[in-house]
């Protein structure tokens, strides 16, 4: 391995929260001559805890994580804008940080003057800027507006100019924080091309992004931060995989809570005297709720994955089973199990019941269980909700649960619509595709 361009060793960063210091404290601070002591933190927040990584010269390194996972703090430490509380940060070569584009532009003066001042701030000399001026302006696509005050620029123009200056500083180490979202498609491509050029000229890039695709495509290595700790680092594919698994776990938890809340809310809201509604007329009206006489009561609903384990997140094409537990206070002989599947927009994707499927009820007593199994969940990615009901053949509801149960379908393919039929493509030999990457 080559010498590292960026090296963080056991870096921790503790942010201080300077608690509500009002005039009285300034006065007392002055009186007691304790200004410096008062500047000690009253509360602390650990932003980064014991993070180490090193980026070899000439490679591209990705930093990923949820919002608030201290990715940007890590970047600021590398940029030298803030200092670590403990540990060491070592960077070799000239740094340019694309943290906030156009930070320091003055709105009243022209783009041209701002380019010069911004360039000098980023460490260029006047002559260097003069040499690169045309390149900068062309890159930003702002030739006709360069002499207009920056306050007249659109936010896109502003960002483009900021990006153009920062990238033309010709750094050895480039720090990028979520800035590719600034331009239109064309500009984004230009930025990516510029990154590729940087990679070719053996410069080091530290890329902070939410775009997992970008990490997989560009980065040689990646680190995943969560709550200021390094969860995993190394091969980007592996790190992204670990991250996605964690995200799913988080979603599971969230969906479980949502469902529990919905059921509870519906339970307390719906009085027994609630008007028995005709379920078919409600079919396309997406309001949550629960009603029915409760002669037969639905006591539990669970989604089971292929291994029979309860889950809330499924992958497109996986098997899924909906297990319903019921309790009948008195034996009944007139009953229909119904199920309806809705997408997030409230569109009914599928609905059926045992009566429609020509099952004639005979008897249901005490505790009972019914399972509705789908062999292959052929839905596109999204959140889906479920109606579960037990009612009489004429529609009189025993217990109707309306859109109370939520699950999520995930997919690596971002196709559109609701239903994904099992499918495959075939082509004549005259049609050719490139080998997929990786």
């Amino acid at each position: 391995m080559m010498t590292p361009a960026i090296q963080l060793t056991n870096v921790s960063k503790v942010y201080r929260r300077y608690g509500g210091r009002q005039f009285s404290t300034l006065k007392s601070a002055l009186l007691q001559r304790s200004i410096l002591r008062d500047l000690q933190p009253s509360e602390t927040f650990p932003a980064l805890t014991d993070v180490s990584f090193s980026v070899p010269k000439g490679s591209t390194y990705g930093v990923m994580g949820r919002n608030g996972s201290s990715k940007s703090t890590a970047l600021k430490l590398v940029a030298g804008i803030t200092k670590p509380t403990s540990g060491t940060v070592r960077v070799e070569g000239r740094i340019s940080a694309l943290i906030e584009l156009g930070a320091g532009f003055h709105p009243e003066i022209s783009g041209r003057e701002n380019v010069f001042i911004n360039g000098i701030m980023l460490g260029l000399t006047k002559r260097e800027i003069q040499q690169r001026f045309d390149e900068i302006v062309d890159f930003a696509e702002l030739r006709e507006f360069i002499d207009a005050p920056v306050k007249t620029y659109s936010s896109g123009m502003y960002m483009r100019l900021g990006f153009a200056v920062a990238i033309n500083v010709n750094p050895d180490v480039l720090l990028v924080d979520e800035v590719l979202a600034v331009g239109d498609e064309g500009f984004t491509h230009k930025c990516l091309d510029k990154f590729a050029e940087f990679k070719r000229s053996n410069k080091t890039i530290l890329l902070v992004t939410h775009s997992l695709g970008l990490i997989e495509r560009f980065c040689y290595e990646a680190i995943w931060l969560d709550g200021g700790r390094a969860m995993s680092h190394g091969d980007p594919k592996r790190v992204v995989g670990a991250y996605l698994t964690k995200v799913e776990e988080g979603e599971e938890l969230l969906l479980a809570q949502t469902t529990a809340r919905a059921v509870e809310a519906a339970d307390t809201a719906a009085a027994p005297a609630d008007i028995p509604r005709d379920p078919t007329s409600n079919m396309f009206q997406a309001t949550e709720g629960r009603w029915g006489s409760r002669e037969v009561e639905i006591t539990d609903v669970a989604f089971l994955d292929g291994g029979g384990q309860p889950s809330f997140v499924f992958h497109s094409g996986d098997p899924i089973a909906v297990r319903v537990k019921l309790h009948a206070a008195q034996p009944v002989d007139d009953f229909v199990f119904g199920i309806g599947l809705f997408n997030a927009d409230g569109v009914c994707c599928y609905g059926t019941n045992t009566y429609l499927e020509e099952m004639t009820p005979q008897r249901l007593t005490g505790d009972a269980e019914a399972t509705f199994a789908i062999d292959s969940l052929d839905l596109v990615e999204g959140t889906y909700k479920l109606d579960i009901a037990i009612h009489k053949i004429d529609g009189f509801p025993y217990d109707y649960h309306r859109l109370l149960y939520t699950f999520r379908v995930k997919s690596r393919v971002h196709d559109v619509g609701i239903y994904r039929p099992h499918h495959h493509w075939t082509f004549s030999p005259t049609v050719q595709f490139k080998e997929p990457l990786g």
Binding site: L26, I81, A97, E100, A103, G104, I109, I117
Partner: protein
């Protein structure tokens, strides 16, 4: 600390362009533009002339024209007070830079001081011809003290600007406190009255404690009266200002790492 000070020298290009930017941006969009830098002192001078020759006339012998006498003190005071109030706010309003760009933060208060110094010089372009017109200013060696006074004031102002800017990041109260304090300080300094008045002399020892007294008197002697008898005080203040500057810079340096977080 001293390496940071040396480092500052490397950024002189940036300081230069930032000062130029501030000056350009200040009047951008107004019809008279940069011309305002001259119009403002002229207006002020006219107002003072009118008030102190017609409404509350001051006919003290040796202080005529009185408006010009006051102006010799008001111009440096304006430099001083505007510098401090802008510098105090500079780190907070420039927070974007401190948080997002690797950038020696002391540049911001320094730019405030220098920008106002340029305005001071522009004001002189109005004051000096007026003084010559009334035969108050004579070409003599006394004028050599003028750059000394400017230098002393520059160091003194920067010392306070650095300390205040750094402290204001943590104690925002200073901004409001300072505005009131400056008004008080203005009237506590012999600018709109002369320290030669008997009722001022009675409190001489108190006035001597006020550092700006010595600057104001020096300017008045150099520009208005001619002979410079106050140079010892000026040099003493200069020496004290250097120490103050080191203290101010030390404080700034001490608090430097907290700016990016607290701004």
């Amino acid at each position: 600390m001293f390496s940071n000070l040396a480092n500052l020298f490397r950024y002189r290009g940036l300081v230069q362009s930032l000062v130029a930017r501030e000056l350009k941006a200040r009047y951008r969009g107004s019809v008279l533009g940069f011309f305002w830098s001259f119009v403002n002192p002229v207006m002020l001078l006219l107002v003072y002339s009118f008030v102190f020759s017609t409404i509350i006339p001051n006919r003290t012998e040796g202080l005529q024209p009185y408006a010009l006498f006051m102006f010799c003190g008001i111009l440096p005071w304006t430099w001083f007070s505007a510098s401090l109030s802008e510098a105090t706010n500079s780190l907070i309003s420039g927070g974007n830079l401190i948080k997002k760009v690797l950038f020696p933060a002391e540049i911001l208060p320094i730019v405030s001081v220098l920008t106002n110094m340029v305005n001071f010089f522009l004001g002189l372009l109005i004051l000096v011809p007026s003084l010559m017109y009334f035969h108050r200013l004579h070409l003599s060696f006394a004028l050599l003290w003028f750059p000394v006074a400017v230098l002393v004031q520059l160091v003194f102002t920067m010392a306070l600007a650095l300390a205040l800017a750094a402290l204001t990041v943590h104690f925002r109260d200073i901004r409001d406190l300072l505005a009131n304090l400056l008004t008080l300080w203005f009237f506590a300094t012999p600018i709109i009255y002369s320290w030669t008045q008997d009722n001022v002399k009675a409190y001489k020892s108190l006035f001597d404690l006020n550092p700006f007294t010595h600057l104001a008197i020096s300017y008045q002697e150099i520009l208005f009266f001619g002979p410079v008898g106050h140079w010892k005080w000026l040099l003493a203040l200069g020496a004290a200002s250097v120490l103050l500057f080191l203290a101010g810079y030390w404080l700034f340096d001490r608090l430097r790492d907290s700016f990016a977080e607290a701004v």
